[in-house]
Symmetry: C2
Subunit: 338 residues, 2 copies
Amino acid sequence: MLNILTEKFPKYSKKLDQILKPVEKDLSLLEDNLTGNLYSGNSDLDKMVRYFFNSGGKRLRPAVSILFSKAINKGHLLPDNFELALAIEMIHTASLIHDDVIDNSETRRGVMTLNKKWGAKTAVITGDYILSRALTRLISINTPVAEIFSKTLNELCIGEILQKNQNYKIISLEDYINKSEKKTARLFMAGTECAAVITPQANNLIINAARSYSLNFGIAFQIIDDILNFNGTLQQIGKPVASDLKNGIITAPVIFANREYEEKGDFTLKNLIDRKFRNEKDFERALRIIFDSDGINKARILAENYIQKAISSLDVIENNSYKQALIDLAYYTAERKS
Amino acid sequence: MLNILTEKFPKYSKKLDQILKPVEKDLSLLEDNLTGNLYSGNSDLDKMVRYFFNSGGKRLRPAVSILFSKAINKGHLLPDNFELALAIEMIHTASLIHDDVIDNSETRRGVMTLNKKWGAKTAVITGDYILSRALTRLISINTPVAEIFSKTLNELCIGEILQKNQNYKIISLEDYINKSEKKTARLFMAGTECAAVITPQANNLIINAARSYSLNFGIAFQIIDDILNFNGTLQQIGKPVASDLKNGIITAPVIFANREYEEKGDFTLKNLIDRKFRNEKDFERALRIIFDSDGINKARILAENYIQKAISSLDVIENNSYKQALIDLAYYTAERKS
């Protein structure tokens, strides 16, 4: 297991539900709405939607949006802020359902994917349906919110295409961050930016803080996700190790590892990736090379830098328990183990 | 080939481009926009989008919307009306791309589908992307337009799920019309209703005419589409005949045929469908039974009734060349051969 920490970064041990205590009731109401209120009047569609939402999920995107709303609004949550939080989780869900179709995944969150259980056709439509319901909610909030989200959806798609077309390519760090921003951070950002935009007393300073916190938080979140994909040692048989790398998705640990070797004139890792791991031995060799490098550690430092940037963005917000939860959540994200 | 006409219905022979002459320039500009203006800045995404739009299509949905706009606005087309027309075709396109993924189709409009050429992953994302770009346009028009479309998208998804879950079931005529309305007519309706909604001088009478024309037109369009799926005789080998029926999609000709036999105490067709055509012989037998019935003819009469309803809806609109084109287009739709 990975347990590499940089010196300057505080060791963090609070549990997620402790951190989210100040918005516990809001998140519980959100849960009720997600699992109960999306009824289409079509029993099959309802069944699929409920199945997915009942399979869990950390609800981090709505949590960040709700925390930010309350942090800048003296602990109040406007009804529109709640609608917004619901819509974000719905959009995230729709994108996961489509991801599972296109990756032909069989399980998610420990249960069968929709495509595995009911077929790709049903899964694509269910994703489209959840997305369209989310858009209905966003449009009912106001036009700027709907605009921000529709542009975010454009970016999400571009991020997915970028990733697909960068398969088995050692991309630059800049391209990696750019892709992570589009694919992951933008949705965090839309939710938090809109939380500020629809709060009457939020000025531009606050809106910028919302954007900066969530953008940097989202990038760090993705980097850590990519590190966690390397979790488990080569010895832990039966567990899919580094499935991203296996599928040709080149992330921060690999980019850093490759840099380190290239600087010594060693192009083995690059060659193995270029030839798309002709066999299992190729792949294990690449994995060993990465584990022997400082790649994962450097990726963690990069994530921590983004976390620090996220936290600094909150300086303009007055201190309260919600702001503290946003700070804690950022530290938690950097140190999370799953 | 089918060539069954009811007596009361006028024989119609104008060609589509003749009918659309009054909006020829608008449609040409639309074409330029579709094939040129959707640039994402991502060259791969652009390539796929252009590939699809360049493969043709009758652009009937935007044509109806533009004709209606001009019919009620003394031949003027507001910029928002044009944006609306673009967005409708984009949404239609996104839904076709997703349909091809879920049906695993290999060709459309005579060229390879996106999923066949670039894989399902790319196709799902491209569909999502075109949809999100369309939504951006709609939101920029105004909130009522965005609301109408987001609800239409919900209905579209419900229509698709209904169809999927009614596979190999002899549904009632009412269920068939209900599904056709959601799956097809609603998008025609959204485009035309919004054309009226955003025209300042359009009163409720006009808005209702827009809804009624396009709803009835859309249902007739789907019925005719379902009839055309039976085109080609059993002798024309090499051509996929009645692919819908083969896939268990039960449409008007089958419903009418089955009624006719059931009324004589003959349940053969129902039994063949119930057992999902155990083999090719089963399927050919079912097809023969349908061709021997009055099913296709009755379906055509049903479509013609909807066409008549669509045309009557236009009574409140003053006579002009655009209204005449809407009438002609309705007749054309009832008689079209492809």
